[in-house]
Amino acid sequence: MAAPQYSLMELMTVVAAREVADGEVVFAGTGLPMLGVMLAQKTHAPGCIIIFEAGTVASRLAHLPMSVGDPRAMRGAAMAAGLNEVFTYVLQAGRVDVGFLSGAQVDRFGNINSTSIGADPRRPSVRFSGSGGACDIACLAKRTIIIAKHEKRRFPEKVDYVTSPGWLEGGESRKASGLVRGGPDVVVTTMGVIRFRPDSKAPYLASCHPGLSPAAVAAETEFALDIREAGETPPPSQAELQILREVVDPERIFLK
């Protein structure tokens, strides 16, 4: 049988979804994380508990939401309340295993910018949506999965604005800031999988996607990326691709 054909976007989604373990409580941000968490729920992690900040707990999604406040988030939910309830009692209280985030820029220590581009935040050259719940998720989940399209300008040495704190300046700096838990575990991109050293929090390329070379990934990354240990990302299975295309996003809401 021929190897399945897939886009890098599909591969990125599958690889990010695999980072969610069955039974985990997942707090998913808007955009690609909604795609990833729904795929996880429809494949290897049917028992994952999906939290959307607009107020739903444990949705059993039937249709891909376009908003974390989408009526589609209500499908099969165990509970529906508001932002205050899920942010306070679920996220801040420490009940979230995984935060699932995306963003316009991700830097060397997994800090995310979704606010603006430009040295002076009072006079930005480009304005984005703003944090939404991303900062809160990055601060308060036990670990974070970041999913982002890989383009050089999106992976700078340092983000212009730290909307969502990652490992901050590396080392012990996150802990020193007063944050009580969490930090980025993995950055899954359209080119590879980046992880962080346990103590220094320095980023390294854990794997690069089939057909790409580690050097090519490093060349598309502004910050220095240690590629010495990079293996090859296991490709998506036929079953994962089929569920992604036919069950999760048949309308091509996020998949192009």
Binding site: T30, G69, Q92
Partner: protein, 320 residues
């Protein structure tokens, strides 16, 4: 209990130029859009908006020049457009004053206001530029008493110096305007589905205006009071506005309208096209009924109606 029903124009006229208000809903859901369009039609100016994750409700107010200052976490229609187009332009052109927070910290601020306390501690924001940098200058803060003197304050717990929190200031607004599924003439309010932060917004406002898909009998809502989110005495005015959130979704009633959202976002790329959009759908129609006709009337709206089993329209074509 005296009736609180008033017309939409009458309700919008209560909000003066320069008023501070919050608007219910979340990105592409349950905004009181018919009310928002009345504010635009009335050429309201100098508004001061507080929100967590608004979408096109704020974008159209900003685009129409109604807004002076905002405090927010996010402004976009999410997957329909990852940044509110007129919000983005207003910032990049220096036409608006703003301050950035996160959703949790904004909701904590509304909650503090609703609780009648001056601030709320949160464990979020630490290490981020949301707590290190401010977009509003100290002078801009000092110039308006409705802006807190300080954006946030990092504090070690008085009970454990190793435990750090961020204090965020309470919000108090002159108005909160919500769009809900059901309300009574007396003001008892029921929200179905996700409630976002509508309750906290209402409880930290001087005057609460509720627009509702349905006006129902008081007795009907009192049979299951556990499902009501605001008591009648917390609501000042009620308007009956079916399809009052269009082009956004109301759980259990209708879905968002991808055609209208596409028209909005395409027009918003260009100043002249945007002006033409406002002329056609806001200034060019005299009221909400005429607006609903202008967007396609019953043919269009029937296609958005929620399937009872889902609370949305599962067959809706969402990518055009």
């Amino acid at each position: 209990m005296p009736g609180k029903l008033i017309g939409l124009k009458e309700a919008a006229a209560l909000v003066p130029d320069g008023a501070a208000l919050s608007i219910g809903g979340f990105t592409t859901q349950r905004h009181p859009m018919a009310f928002v369009y009345e504010l635009v039609r009335a050429k309201r100016r100098g508004l001061y908006l507080f929100g967590h994750s608004p979408g096109g409700d704020w974008d159209v107010l900003i685009g129409a020049g109604c807004v002076k200052r905002v405090e927010l976490a996010y402004e976009a229609d999410e997957a329909f457009n990852t940044v509110g187009p007129r919000w983005r332009r207003a910032v990049e052109r220096g036409e608006i004053e703003w301050e950035d927070y996160s959703n949790f910290s904004m909701v904590a601020r509304f909650t503090a206001g609703a609780m009648g306390i001056p601030f709320m501690p949160v464990r979020s924001l630490l290490g981020s530029d949301l707590v290190r940098k401010d977009a509003l200058t100290p002078e801009a803060r000092a110039a308006d008493p409705r802006t807190a003197a300080k954006k946030a304050h990092v504090m070690d717990s008085p009970f454990d110096p190793a435990d750090r929190v961020v204090l965020v200031p309470a919000i108090h607004t002159e108005f909160a305007v919500l769009h809900v599924q059901k309300a009574t003439e007396g003001g008892t309010t029921r929200i179905e589905g996700q409630s976002y932060a509508d309750v906290q917004m209402a409880l930290c406002a001087d005057t609460v205006i509720v627009t509702a898909e349905e006006i129902v009998e008081e007795d009907a809502l009192r049979r299951t009071p556990e499902q009501n989110l605001l008591p009648f005495f917390a609501v000042n005015h009620v308007c009956h506005v079916p399809f009052g959130a269009h082009p956004y979704a109301v759980y259990g009633y209708y879905d968002y309208d991808p055609l209208q959202l596409q028209a909005y976002h395409e027009s918003a790329r260009d100043d002249d096209a945007y002006r033409a959009y406002l002329d056609r759908y806001v200034f060019g129609v005299r009221d909400h009924r005429a607006y609903l006709e202008a967007v396609g009337g019953a043919d269009r709206l029937d296609g958005l109606r929620a399937a009872p089993e889902f609370g949305y329209s599962p067959g809706l074509k969402r990518r055009l």
